[in-house]
Amino acid sequence: MPRPHPIITLFLLVGLTSASLAHAAGTVQVVMKDDKGQPVADAVASLTLLDGPPPAVVPPAEPVVILQQNEEFSPYVTPLVVGTRVSFPNHDKVQHHVYSLSKAKKFELPLYSGEPRELVTFDQPGVVALGCNIHDWMSAYVVVLTTPYFEKTGAAGTASLAGLPAGRYRLEVWHPRLAATVTREVVIAASDDATQVISVTLKPDRRIRRAPDASGGGYK
């Protein structure tokens, strides 16, 4: 994996467009770039309505899938709503031992291959760091949200949050390498078309090295 510069400036470009005057619904386009203009993937952008009753959050009927393949989790970042069930199928030849020590969800799925015996329900909001107890370099994140308005930036560094009712929102952007969640207030009105640029600093990408170690010292 390429190692980005330790200090990277991230530009968050938020474009607000009114999708339909009749439905008073808008779309928030989040564009994330680093200081070299390269897109930043795997950032989770979410919008929380600040005025009025919160919208209903309905977890999907089918479980979300986080694969273990080639001794990595895929996807690396998974945003979902509270109450979502997640399946962790193992497609590798070797067994994995999936676990989390995060406050939002402590769990472990002891050594298994193929389909896991149980699904994991993420029932509290927060960021859940995943690991494999056998392969230390394996890591991934589940971002558990209480709002239905969220999206993850793709390889192009963009995320589009559509179908938003007019109103005042708190925009939050989370990324594994952000020291703290970026928060902004965003007002979506029928005729609004606004752009925001937010600069943040990313932490170095400190993942455990996967490549094999050199063998220990010896003499013969």
Partner: protein, 291 residues
């Protein structure tokens, strides 16, 4: 001489055993040694490059959440074009128990390992079997820093008593991952026991004649010795008792997620009886791949 067939066997081992649940690894290494002959006299030091290829596999057998057995083996072929008496084909069977104290990457790991193997040298007097037992404790402190301590007993039983060796060793290693691409590691070890050394006939006769003093002459007359042509005609191979200090540092870039290219420098100082000692410096470059 090591044949192409031997190389194919070793290099192909990881592929052959790439079965369900089996972890395999292979490496190619070139090591330059400024004192391959383990000689105490500067004039006798023979420098050369040794090339080796090895493949290893291990099967993890979980016994409980934290305890697992690792059963496996390895095969190695080694060749030294300049001193081909050292060309080797070796195979080892290994069994280890590994206890992880807790969950997660930072949990310490205790390993108990036992292995037995056989080696075949071009200089057949070196042929024999070996056994090793070790206990190790490894602890990762964060994503970058990791330390390991190891205690080891090893025994090598060759056709000639000169090449028999028994050692106990303690070692410590600290590794620092600068990034997920670059790793620096450094370590130190002390072995107590027996080591091989070699001397040309001129050096040997000079010392054993008493020209270097009676203490040295007495010492060299008591150590097991034999003629060995590995480093030249009429050379003497002998075995000394004492301790060996090793220090090493390595830098290892990752070429791919499962591939690394460690460059390692190691210095070795062997202390024998009657004040004898010899130094060795080694520089090695390996290509290591986990299949």
């Amino acid at each position: 001489m090591i044949s192409v067939r031997h190389l194919l066997v070793v290099c192909g081992l990881p592929v052959v055993v790439a079965a369900e649940g089996v972890t395999t690894e292979g490496s190619l290494t070139a090591t330059w040694n400024d004192n391959l002959s383990h000689s105490a006299q500067a004039a006798d030091c023979r420098q050369a490059t040794v090339f080796s290829a090895d493949g290893s596999f291990s099967q993890r057998i979980p016994l409980s959440r934290d305890l697992a057995l690792l059963a496996g083996g390895s095969a190695e072929v080694e060749t030294c074009p300049r001193y081909d008496g050292l060309d080797t084909l070796a195979a080892v069977a290994r069994l280890a128990a590994r206890e992880k104290f807790g969950l997660g990457a930072l949990a310490p790991v205790l390993s108990l390992s036992a292995e037995a193997g056989a080696s075949s040298f071009r200089e057949s007097a070196r042929n024999g079997w070996s056994a090793k037992a070790s206990v190790g404790l490894a602890k990762r402190f964060d994503e970058a820093w990791r330390a390991a301590l190891n205690a080891e007993w090893s025994h090598q039983d060759a056709r000639q008593i000169v090449f028999d060796r028994e050692n106990r060793a303690l070692s410590a290693e600290l590794s620092w991952d600068l990034s997920d691409h670059w790793q620096i590691a450094a370590g130190a070890s002390r072995q107590w026991g027996q080591q091989e050394a070699n001397a040309s006939w001129n050096s040997w006769s000079y010392v054993t004649s008493g020209a270097a003093g009676p203490a040295l002459a007495n010492y060299y007359e008591q150590v097991p010795d034999t003629y060995s042509n590995t480093f030249g005609s009429g050379w003497i191979a002998y075995r000394i008792e004492g301790h060996t200090d090793l220090g090493w540092i390595s830098i290892s870039p990752a070429l791919a997620p499962n591939t690394a290219l460690p460059l390692r420098y190691q210095v070795v100082e062997v202390h024998g009886g009657a004040g004898t000692r010899y130094l060795s410096h080694q520089l090695s470059l390996s290509l290591v791949h986990r299949f």
